[in-house]
Symmetry: C2
Subunit: 307 residues, 2 copies
């Protein structure tokens, strides 16, 4: 599969017993990506009992307490394993100040390199082996960022049968075709890769959006996501309150999902006022707008297959 997604917490504003603060861990080919890190994230991580080793990148939406105060604990936990690779922390301006102030005041023991990158413009903020991460602006009571984690597309499937039919001998010519090159056979005929290979394989895409009003950047950047994890903090009856506090209702999240043409919407960052039973009401409202909407719950895992 492309991504394994582990929901570390689904709560907004304050943690509740059984509902940790919003945080999502994504595993892709052995690399780990953490989206937001509020108080208690390290406990959820331990509850999952993953044989986790190294988070490559921590992505922070904004520097409100409920999205960042788990960082010091996570940095210390990470010091329990040996690592040579740096840990990247990506977030809005102030995230560097937050990490450095806490590191210094708390005299934290860190046995690896931390690289903090502040996002100053929309676009690619990180790239690794076969994937890239894009940031886009949200609109909250303080600077807030949405993220997409996207795999690069890969060459199409190679069909040995078709190559055989065209009299192309197994060997270096196959490799050149697989690498996207046209070849010329001894009989003078030219064969292009498209004649022996399927169409390019699209990579999977996941987007993470929380603490925002609905803004056009969300459907633009989250377009075509296989999984769109999005705040659905309030029911429609509190739409006015959501507007004032600059949060999304579940229905607004569904509407953004529809505009973005995503495959699936996973709601997260629930107001502490709602019990798990109440959330079924939010889900119903959202599904009326976008049927492929689901509720996340703490410690859930989701598999995102290659498209």
């Amino acid at each position: 599969m492309a991504f394994e997604v582990f929901v570390l917490g689904t709560g907004g504003m304050m943690p509740l017993p059984g509902r940790a603060l919003t945080s999502v861990l994504v595993r892709r080919e052995g690399e780990l990506f953490l989206f937001d890190c509020g108080e208690g994230t390290q406990v959820s991580l331990k509850k999952l009992n993953l044989r986790w080793k190294k988070i490559s990148v921590i992505l922070i939406s904004h520097t409100h307490a409920d999205h960042v105060t788990g960082i010091p604990g996570m940095l210390m936990l990470t010091s329990q394993v040996d690592r040579t690779e740096p840990l990247y922390i990506i977030g809005p301006p102030k995230i560097k100040e937050y990490v450095e102030a806490n590191r210094s005041i708390l005299d934290m023991y860190i046995n690896y390199k931390i690289v903090v990158k502040e996002v100053v413009a929309a676009g690619e903020v990180f790239a690794g082996n076969g994937y890239r991460i894009t940031a886009f602006p949200l609109r909250h009571s303080k600077l807030c960022i949405g993220y997409s984690l996207e795999e690069e597309s890969r060459p199409g499937v190679f069909f040995p049968d078709k190559a055989g039919e065209k009299g192309i001998p197994r060997g270096p010519l196959w490799s050149r075709l697989q690498a996207g090159e046209s070849i010329t056979l001894e009989n003078g005929r030219t064969v292009s890769p498209g004649e022996v290979m399927g169409p390019k394989r699209q990579g999977a895409k996941l987007s993470f959006v929380t603490d925002t009003l609905p803004v056009p950047e969300i459907p633009r950047y989250a377009a075509g996501s296989d999984l769109f994890i999005c705040e659905g903090m309030f029911a429609e009856e509190l739409a006015q309150s959501a507007l004032e506090k600059k949060h999304l209702t579940a229905t607004q999240a569904a509407s953004l999902a529809k505009q973005a043409g995503v495959k699936r919407l996973a709601l997260i960052h629930y107001s502490p006022r709602y019990t798990d039973r109440d959330l079924k009401g939010l889900l119903k409202e959202a599904r009326a707008v976008f049927s492929e909407t689901y509720l996340t719950h703490d410690l859930q895992s989701m598999w995102i297959p290659n498209p």
Copy 2:
């Protein structure tokens, strides 16, 4: 009773599922005192389901992450109730910088006054209605403080029978005796308060000590505590490791309890290496030195009666 003690967490260094970081809440006549506040303390507080309202004072032993990173969340939680009284935070130098840096970087919404007092010398650091809090120096890898919460002694019990026998009429003369004054009756006889009242009633005393080597200040300041809550991080077989990391073994805690002549020792701040079953071994070692030793566990409550 004098104090109700609620154990919010018993873990040292890192929180585990089922073992939150070391934190103790004490209730006395409607006032609340919180000793240390690591990541997740607000969740334990909610699990207790106290009809808690207002913490008067947060006392911090030292500014390592596992003892303070719950403060931002606690300050925000406290903003959920109306209060006019300030919240006091008492701790070692750097605690002010910690609170202020986090408040400012995280743009925390706080609807009450916070007063941070940095402890610079041993002695009384806070006093309220009928109690006082004393700080004393510990020895850890960074500046660390122990605390005693002590009730003032109160006048002894007044015996109406004895007053009657001496022919003292109920009324203003009784009040003067109860206030500690001697009176002269019409027959010229003088009566002192001691003739109609029991001895002064001692207040209760609780001490909280964690993250330290054994130092003589501990038994000196914790002397006579009704409850001595003390770190017992390691078993004796790791005494060398405890020494290097500047922590106490359970046996050392027991020895300090014995020297201090406390009524009861409650061990806390267990190394994450120990399971709950392992802790029975630590308890056994400690009880060989001081029989009135007990293990604390998460969400436990203890009542400390008036002596």
